[in-house]
Assembly symmetry: C2
Homo-oligomer: 217 residues x 2
């Protein structure tokens, strides 16, 4: 089915998304992505991506009639623009080095037609990191997580086991604590960890991380 995207401008009140999704459900459109973008100085925008048989014009017209909606425009889909995501989290010094390797390698693959983005969050503390690890599987388009630090264990290790159980690939730097014991792959050099992370998710690469399971570099 053809995929479309629309950007709507709406008032910030309950029931708007219900109204918009009713129009899409009535036409059997399958929604694949939603973003609600709040602004301090103007109306909220809701961005929707969906697949549907048939023309988009009647849907755009239908969305315009929803109460609270002031504007609707068809727009390019951005899942194509941002592509797959790698997330790197941990201490700033190590996250920066892993990012350097990942960004350079992603650049090489993106030139060949891939779309890989590299997202980072410098974060310390067992509780904060464990929470961030658990929520990474709820972010759209994330394929792989790199944990970059000097010591990680305790509840972070539990969180890594949980997200691996949900299918996320986890690379850990070689570090103190129990996180390296539960990662898919352990790498000592942070730049190399970043490069391997990208190779693992790129369709343009031939590196199979599953074959590397539990290896240490």
């Amino acid at each position: 089915m053809p995929a479309y995207a629309v950007l709507t401008t709406v008032s910030n009140q309950p029931g708007i998304l219900f109204g918009l999704t009713r129009v899409l459900a009535d036409r059997q459109a399958n929604i694949s992505h939603v973003d609600i973008i709040s602004h301090v100085d103007r109306d909220t925008e809701i961005y929707l991506e969906f697949a549907v048989e048939g023309a988009i014009e009647p849907i755009v017209e239908g969305l315009r009639t929803v109460t609270g909606v002031s504007a609707v425009e068809a727009t390019p889909s951005f899942s194509k623009i941002y592509g797959k995501r790698i997330v790197i989290m941990g201490g700033g010094a190590q996250v920066g080095q892993v990012a350097l390797g990942a960004i350079t390698e992603a650049d090489r693959h993106n030139i060949r037609g891939e779309r890989i983005s590299v997202d980072t969050i410098p974060l310390v503390g067992e509780e904060a990191l464990a929470g961030a690890v658990r929520s990474v599987v709820r972010l759209p388009r994330v394929r792989l997580l790199v944990l970059a630090g000097s010591i990680m264990g305790g509840d972070i290790t539990n969180a890594v086991e949980e997200v691996r159980g949900k299918g996320l690939i986890v690379i850990s730097l070689n570090m103190a604590g129990s996180v390296p014991d539960v990662a898919d792959l352990v790498v000592s050099d942070p730049v190399q960890a970043g490069v391997m992370a990208v190779m693992a998710v790129a369709d343009t690469a031939k590196f199979d991380i599953v074959r590397q399971q539990k290896r240490k570099y």
Copy 2:
């Protein structure tokens, strides 16, 4: 109003989000974030954040009764976990250096209670970059864009003017092409550009980018 988050497991078919949002609209819940997470090997998940007066239990019960929904669990909200985002795009060599500065600086602010994440996409070509710039304002929680390259102009410049018109702050490296002419701030050293980007969005910093308008460093 108290804010809540739920993670639902659903079948991949039209109408599910309509069913879920009907339950929330019936209870005057105001939805602030939606993520649809597709998996190749198991059911789709839909994550919803919303604010509502009253208890969450009846809402969770209501969501469980929606056709196509197999599981609903209350979960921690992740807008608190990932916080504000800075996006860096352009050529891999420069994006990596800007990221290094931004990640190091974000680490220093995050230790003091901020939550700033640094997202990057290495990308070349006028059309691809212009599209990515335009769509950055549709990504949630993005406060600032850094354009990092050696030459950018043409339609990328038009795109920068459009997103600045929508309130996004844009920092450009000092480079060839017309993009530096339309940015809020132009910085020659990529590491410093990354540091300034974080200072500009951190509540824990005292740097006011508006005062720096059209300055070149």
